[in-house]
Amino acid sequence: MFETSELNIKNQRVQRLFKILFLLMTMLLIAPVLLILGTLIVKGGSVISIDFLFTSPTDGMTAGGIFPALLGTVWLVAVALLISVPLGIAAAIYLSEYAGENWFTRIINLAIINLAGVPSIVHALFGVGAFVLFFKFGTSILAASLTLAIMTLPVVIVATRESLQAVPFAFREACWNMGATRWQTIRRVVLPNAVSGILTGVILEVSRTAGETAPIMFTGAVFFTPFLPQGIFDQTMAMSLHLFVVSTQVPGVPENLPYGVALVLIAMVLIMNSLSIAFRIYLRGKKKW
């Protein structure tokens, strides 16, 4: 009565087959990450040293370190964040907490989605037209960071809006019923509970901003400058552009140098991402509902 039938055996065989297939697909997904990291460490690990990180390139960029590029990337990311984070969070709060569902918000949502889909080279040309030429910021950190900020704005808005909406509606209802205004509710209850998600979005934005090349190439980053940036109107070197330059534009670069630059860049991004994950786990552990 309860014996295994032919059909059972056949079905179970098919089921095992699919399980293995999906497992293989998953492994395939991790493979490139491991391969990239492995290659970079093997080929570029030898150039990494404190000197490499903290000295300028020498001998026509075929030797020396990467300090101006490293510092330039920190500048570009920091200024871009200062612009996009307040703007993005404010917009997300408006969209999530104040705006109703109407034609106006639908248009804004559509704009955000489209902004996220614009190729970065188009952002770069926009940046040249708007910030470098029209606002006369010249090729500068400010122009480059503004371009980066506009490009990453959708990430901040979407991440913030999603974490605001993850705060249970009952909390808002409780506040409103006690006579709290919308702003009191947002400040005292919604934002404190959404902050982990917002920060995750911001940190993801950092890693994306750090790696972008196209938007900064025409707006503020230069191939080489012997000077470290002193302010937002200076030009600067940047890690991503430096990698492009040493791998394709300069003759006579030792083979391990570009790998070393790439390794530092990817390490920056991975460190930011792990920080974001650790921070999120920490904040999640603290909240409970």
């Binding site: 009952a170 909390f171 409103w176 006690m178 006579g179 709290a180 209850v189």
Partner: protein
């Protein structure tokens, strides 16, 4: 507007809520029909009726929280302690401060027990926040009123969301009290609780009688019978009967009431 929860001297002094020809529409759907009710001050009145009869809608129009939906239209009047709460110039923040609402599912905020109790109080005393010792007294008083003080006095700084459902619901009642509301609205306050929790919260509600006017919506007829002094039976958006609870359950005046309380529908 009138900021005190006491009525100004007139014949309505002993009435907490008085509605006149109250009609309410959600879009094109009419949820309330000519509701005329006089709800007495200082007692517990229960609202019973089958699902969709408009009892929660009525409750939610008394602190004007319904309006948030945007597509709600109201016609008629609601006077609370003699003041028309739909008059122009009425401050919604004052309405919600002086008319507290307790929900079906306990909804403590994800902050400490102490901060929960003081949340409403601090909200309404912006700028001149009370001394810490004064705040402690206020929190203690509110928690004592809801019979929760002895259970939580040693862990006032732990998260309110870690309490049991019954304790959470009591806390939700406690946090309304520091701003001294005259009227407490309760929307099926026990329906998420187990029988023991229900009993405890009912006991508490009975305890608060006299100090506050309480209007409680319930699905549970035994609860209405045990825990209220007057009872309103609603059906299809209309008030069918409003009498002393005892009379309603012993000698219902209308056939529909009798059918409902005997469980023939609903």
């Amino acid at each position: 507007m009138n900021t005190s929860s006491q009525a100004i001297g007139n014949e309505q002094l002993d009435l907490a809520i008085q509605t006149g020809k109250l009609n309410l529409w959600y879009g094109t759907f009419q949820a309330l029909f000519d509701v005329d009710l006089d709800i007495k001050q200082g007692i517990i009145t229960s609202l019973i009726g089958p699902s969709g009869c408009g009892k929660s809608t009525f409750l939610r129009s008394i602190n004007r929280i319904n309006e948030r939906l945007g597509y709600v239209r109201i016609d008629g009047s609601i006077n609370v302690f003699g003041n028309n709460i739909y008059a122009p110039g009425v401050e919604l923040v004052q309405v919600r401060k002086q008319i507290g609402m307790v929900f079906q599912r306990p909804n403590p905020l994800p902050i400490s027990i102490r901060d929960n109790v003081l949340f409403g109080y601090n909200l309404h005393s912006e700028g001149k926040r009370a001394e810490r010792s004064e705040q402690d007294d206020i929190a203690e008083d509110a928690l004592r009123q809801v019979l929760l003080w002895d259970k939580v006095k040693d862990r006032l700084n732990s998260k309110a969301t870690e309490l049991s459902l019954e304790e959470q619901q009591k806390l939700c009642i406690a946090r309304l009290l520091p701003v001294k509301p005259g009227l407490l609205l309760m929307d099926e306050p026990c329906s998420a609780l187990d029988p023991k929790g229900t009993e405890a919260v009912e006991e508490l509600i009975w305890e608060l009688r006299g100090k506050y006017t309480i209007l409680i919506v319930t699905h549970n007829m035994a609860q209405a019978r045990r825990a209220s002094e007057e009872c309103i039976f609603m059906l299809m958006g209309k008030v069918v009967e409003h009498t002393a609870t005892e009379d309603m359950f012993v000698t219902p005046g209308k056939q529909e009431t009798a059918d409902y309380i005997e469980g023939r529908y609903g």
